[in-house]
């Protein structure tokens, strides 16, 4: 794979003069060491710029939702690969932030849903959020871990749209109006969904309510 990737750019570089800025240093055979790709071409600088501007926001949102670095990195990659492959056309710059944020939320929710299906990483164990309170004792940390695991599990049990709305509202901190704008729906619909989701989550988390904290 690497070989193909390495070989491609020089070919284009030769055939298309305007690509001259392509990395001439990219070796034809460099399986061990990936090349440093520089920003090139017409779209790449834009992308580079966009990436620098927004990647932290995407990564952080993904981390909050998935609770582990590996998944957060995958989410980041998924979101920006879509841009790179022109599967989505970014709108005006002022809309791009919320768009990417929302894309991150959805990709992260997809990620925890697929994790739940495959059971590859139990949600409870995958969680790293507990490190936020390193001072807490082991028992307490275990409870936090379970609680966050339960919350993420509960998110996966919601409909994708409901999970998205809920996450945007209560984890990512958007207002109902903003969410309605982002999703192209009415504030009432957002309100209703949140109202309903709250009931569902309360039920799921109720199992924790009985435990002494």
């Amino acid at each position: 794979m690497d070989e193909e990737i390495m070989e491609d750019p020089p070919v284009h570089a030769m055939s298309r003069p305007r690509k001259a800025r392509l990395p001439a240093q990219a070796p034809a055979r460099a399986a061990e060491k990936p090349p440093e790709i520089q920003a090139v071409g017409d779209s790449a600088p834009d992308l580079e710029e966009i990436y620098q501007q927004h990647h932290r926001r995407v990564l952080n949102a993904a981390y909050r939702i998935t609770g582990n670095s590996t998944d957060a990195e995958d989410v980041l990659q998924t979101v920006f690969l879509r841009l790179a492959r022109r599967e989505v056309q970014p709108g005006p710059a002022e809309e791009l932030g919320p768009y990417l944020h929302r894309a991150a939320v959805n990709a992260a929710l997809d990620m925890i849903r697929s994790r739940k299906r495959s059971r590859a990483v139990p949600l409870e164990e995958a969680d790293a959020g507990i490190e936020a309170q390193p001072s807490a004792g082991p028992e307490k940390r275990s409870q936090h871990r379970q609680l966050l695991g339960a919350l993420r599990g509960a998110l996966t049990s919601l409909s994708p749209r409901a999970a998205e709305i809920f996450t945007l509202r209560f984890i990512e901190g958007y207002g109902n109006k903003e969410i309605a704008l982002m999703l192209g729906t009415s504030q009432t619909a957002v309100g209703v969904t949140l109202h309903r989701v709250r009931g569902q989550l309360r039920t799921v988390l109720a199992t924790f309510g009985g435990q002494p904290s």
């Binding site: 790709i37 779209s43 992308l47 990647h55 932290r56 599967e87 959020g129 901190g173």
Partner: protein, 925 residues
């Protein structure tokens, strides 16, 4: 919606707070960001390159298959993705190629995983699986591997551990993949005969093959023009190739696959010990266990024809089970040709044609012999039934037909060499054969002495059961009974009477069953009195009151139209008899008020229809105009609510009710009989809530209602309810009132919500419980209220209505409609669960793990044959008629004939029939 802004429960709040506060460790975040940046920029470059040099047009399967690797990697996007996915839906070779590409991907992922794990083992403590990143993502860049000093100590043993886990994991993966991996080691096929030229197609060109040469599995062979060849597999299967035919053999755990690239082949499949034999063409998959069939794969499509046995063909989203002489094409442009013509090129054409025609005639003759007992247009048995007859049944004498069919089979097998070898191979060796023979023999002995009809009366008032038949050979019947059947019958005790009038009750008290043969009349009863009564009529010519009764008249009318299987019940007598004197006055009043007591007769009929259809008919007649509950069914009229149902619906029931207001009024009246104060309580309820039940609920409705399951059943059942509504504003007002009232009365605050949205310019309403468990949406379209769990279903229903492509206009539904004088229905119920049950069989509760592959196969087989049925009702002034057709012929079903003359099947079924002396006249019951 201020409530939303209220704080959530403390526990939830706490969890959310923690989630919000969690941040990725800075070092990890930076490393991850850099890795992704590299990947993303590289992808952007590739995309730019693709954009500058767009790929050539997609022209065929090869081009599609070229796209598979990027599809599997998740890199394919845009129109190409759509094109490929669409193509994959209909192309079996490409689906297979996809499967292989996925396996390859899986393997490479496992291998990559080895590297990644070994690399990550040092740094990752969460034990996460390798990320699902595309393979073009670079290996972790050096600084990710900069392990903390404390971790390096364990690095070496962790690598070993990872390796060990991988070995185990690979083993498990291999086991699950084994099903898909070709198992061609050591498998060879041999060229048995060759006429002309046969090539093995390789990368570099053609290799000439000669007769007697072996062909390894996995190689493509092709016949040249004007050539032909026969390839013999190790299991004895013969594949005959016509000119310009190309195929490849593959052996998998599921069985042998003949990949037919193109051309015409005839397969004589040897019985498959384990698994099946498949023929895969570009557009269909044929599966068999042992039979003779031809597959012709051309440019326009494929055509599968069956010479002998049973073949299953999956093509597109459809599937067909073909029997000898039948054919199916995968594309309408490939029209049907006679099977004989399709196989005319074969060097074995004579043998195939013989077998084909023999089997075809045999099957037809056997079907005819069994079902061709003809309708009975008159009977003299009816007039001999006892006066107290409450239920009358008349059945055809089927034993003769069965025997005849078997004779026919034997005769043909004897006289036809083509059939003889088939018989020897497939039937004579089966264990059930001797049982079948003796059973049929006994049946036909008895049946052969009887006339075409066996009639039965169930009487009231202790007269017992009376079975009557005409004997065509009374002497033979008698001797048969006395010599063959009676001596072997211990239970029940049977006694043959010479003259019931001479017998005394004491003489027969030990007998369970009394038989009286008088001239050609055979009568069986458990009661002496019943036989005495009969004797008085038959011998002495005493008048029989039943012969002049209206019940007899009703039954005689059925004979006017031809009777096959007939059951009639005198409901008045049955009801009167079942109601004891101690039944409460109140109960009688309710029954009286309901109008149910007006039912006079119920007559059920079943007749063989055209083709494989069986007609069913039931008539419920009343002694006057229908009233009460019985009158709720309206007279037949057009039902536009059915226009919202798609042709693919699994289940539909539609009904036309009389005036809904009248209906509610009747219901109140009925309940009032039971509880006289009901009217008052209703009145006070209405006063209290300011609602008029009849005016607000029933009056807006038109009386027409359709309920359907129209779409996927999982994860949410796709139900659809269509109600005729004359006053939608009022009904909407009522619904809102209901929701408000429910919420006002609920102690826990709002429990129901009702919201309005926009549905293509119409208002659409969402009703839901606050928990979200029972949400549904409804809208009003052209005088109908449509309700469904999702908006998409409503849109779909309206689209179908607008397109005119609806259930009632689909050929399948039309074929099931009963032929009679009515143009409309009062009610109907249609089910076509076959297509639904198919996938369900694969997703059996428990994830399919509780069923073995064999069980799943059987289940699929059974459900694939679940025939569609349609039952409808006509409300007439003084009667209600139910009529319906089912797709499977009852007799064929009973005898397993639909399963291609499967004699084992017949035996199994016959073994289940109650055959003993007293049941001699009801082998068909």
């Amino acid at each position: 919606m201020t409530r939303i802004e209220e704080p959530l429960d403390p526990l939830l709040d706490q969890a959310l707070e923690e989630l919000r506060g969690s941040t990725m460790p800075e070092a990890e975040a930076q490393a991850a960001a850099e890795r992704v940046r590299q990947t993303v920029l590289r992808a952007a470059l590739q995309e730019q390159a693709r954009h500058d040099h767009p790929m050539a047009m997609i022209e065929g399967c090869e081009d599609f298959q070229d796209l598979l690797p990027s599809y599997v990697n998740g890199e394919l996007v845009g129109p190409r993705l759509l094109l490929l996915e669409d193509h994959l839906r209909s192309c079996i070779p490409c689906r297979r190629a996809l499967m292989e590409a996925r396996e390859a991907q899986k393997k490479s992922e496992v291998q990559e995983g080895l590297g990644v794990w070994a690399a990550r083992g040092d740094t990752q403590e969460d034990g996460g699986a390798p990320p699902a990143s595309p393979p073009d993502s670079p290996p972790a860049s050096p600084h990710t591997l900069a392990a903390p000093a404390s971790a390096t100590v364990g690095a070496s043993w962790m690598r070993w551990a990872a390796a060990a886990v991988l070995v185990v994991g690979l083993g498990a993966t291999a086991w699950t993949l084994i099903d898909l991996v070709p198992m061609s080691w050591g498998q060879v096929a041999k060229i048995q005969e060759l006429d002309g030229e046969l090539y093995q197609v390789t990368r570099d060109g053609y290799i000439h093959l000669t007769a007697g040469q072996k062909i390894p599995y996995g190689e493509t062979i092709r016949t040249a023009k004007s050539s032909g060849a026969i390839v013999r597999l190790e299991d004895g299967t013969r594949i005959e190739l016509d000119s310009r035919a190309e195929m490849e053999l593959q052996r998998r755990r599921k069985g042998t696959i003949i990949e037919l690239g193109r051309g015409n082949i005839i397969v004589e499949a040897a019985p498959q010990r384990d698994g099946k034999l498949f023929v895969a063409t570009g557009d269909c998959l044929v599966s068999v266990t042992g039979t003779i069939f031809s597959v012709n794969s051309g440019v326009k499509g494929s055509r599968v024809s069956v010479v002998e046995g049973e073949v299953r063909v999956d093509y597109g989203a459809r599937e067909a089970v073909l029997l000898a002489g039948q054919q199916v094409s995968t594309h309408p442009s490939v029209g049907p040709v006679p099977v004989a013509r399709e196989i005319a090129w074969s060097r074995n054409v004579d043998a195939y044609l013989d077998l084909l025609s023999e089997l075809h005639t045999l099957r037809q003759d056997m079907e005819r012999a069994i079902s061709d007992h003809g309708l009975r247009y008159s009977t003299d048995l009816l007039d001999l039934m006892p006066p107290t007859t409450a239920v009358y049944a008349s059945l055809p004498n089927l034993s003769e037909g069965l025997g005849e069919a078997y004779d026919l089979l034997q005769e043909r097998v004897e006289s036809s060499p083509a059939l003889r070898s088939w018989w020897q191979e497939t039937v004579a060796s089966s264990a059930g054969q001797p049982i079948l023979q003796t059973t049929l023999e006994r049946l036909r002995q008895l049946g052969g002495t009887l006339g075409p009809e066996v009639s039965l009366a169930v009487t009231l008032k202790g007269d017992g059961l009376l079975v009557l038949a005409r004997a065509v050979h009374p002497a033979a019947l008698r001797s048969l009974l006395e010599t063959e059947w009676l001596p072997v019958s211990e239970e029940p005790k049977v006694m043959i009477l010479d003259d019931p009038r001479q017998s005394l009750p004491e003489q027969v008290e030990d007998a369970d069953l009394l038989i009286w043969i008088h001239d050609d009349l055979l009568a069986l009863s458990s009661k002496l009195g019943t036989l005495q009564q009969l004797a008085a009529v038959v011998v002495d010519g005493a008048p029989n009151p039943f012969a002049t009764s209206p019940f007899r008249q009703t039954l005689a009318e059925v004979y006017g139209d031809g009777a096959d299987w007939l059951v009639g019940a005198d409901m008045k007598s049955v009801v009167a008899n079942s109601r004891g004197s101690d039944d409460g006055e109140e109960e009688n009043q309710i029954l009286e008020a309901s109008g149910i007591l007006d039912v006079e007769y119920l007559v059920l009929e079943r007749k063989a229809g055209t083709g494989s259809l069986t007609h069913h008919r039931a008539v419920l007649s009343f002694d006057g105009p229908r009233r009460g509950i019985a009158s709720w069914l309206a007279a037949p009229a057009p039902m536009a609510s059915l226009d919202f149902v798609s042709p693919d619906a699994y289940f539909v029931t539609a009904v036309l009710a009389k005036e809904p207001e009248q209906l509610v009024e009747d219901l109140f009246g009925l309940l009032e009989t039971a509880s006289p104060r009901l009217r008052e309580s209703i009145e006070s309820f209405q006063q209290e809530h300011g609602v008029r039940i009849i005016e607000d609920f029933a009056a807006p409705l038109g009386g027409e209602m359709t309920v359907a399951i129209d779409g996927p059943v999982l994860p949410t059942l796709s139900w659809l309810v269509v109600l005729e509504v004359y006053d939608s504003a009022r009904l909407q007002h009522t619904i809102r009132w209901l929701v408000d009232t429910a919420n006002a009365q609920a102690s826990s605050g709002e429990i129901l919500r009702l919201e309005q949205g926009d549905f293509e310019g119409r208002p659409i309403f969402t009703v839901g419980t606050v928990g979200g468990a029972l949400d549904f949406q409804y809208t009003f379209v052209d005088g109908y209220m449509l309700a469904a769990p999702t908006r998409a279903l409503l849109e779909r229903a309206v689209e179908f209505r607008d397109s005119g492509y609806t259930l009632t206009r689909s050929p399948r539904f039309a074929a099931l409609m009963p032929a009679d004088g009515h143009a409309n229905f009062s009610a109907l119920t249609y089910q076509n669960f076959g297509p639904l049950l198919g996938p369900l069989a694969e997703h059996w509760p428990g994830g399919g793990e509780e069923l073995t592959a064999e069980q799943q196969e059987k289940l699929r087989d059974v459900v694939a044959r679940t025939p569609a049925t349609l039952a409808c009702a006509y409300g007439e002034e003084e009667r209600i008629i139910f009529a319906g057709n089912s797709e499977d012929s009852f007799l064929s079903g009973l005898l397993g004939l639909s399963g291609a003359l499967s004699l084992e099947g017949i035996t199994e079924r016959i073994k289940g029939l109650p055959i003993s002396i007293h049941a001699g006249s009801r082998p068909t019951a």
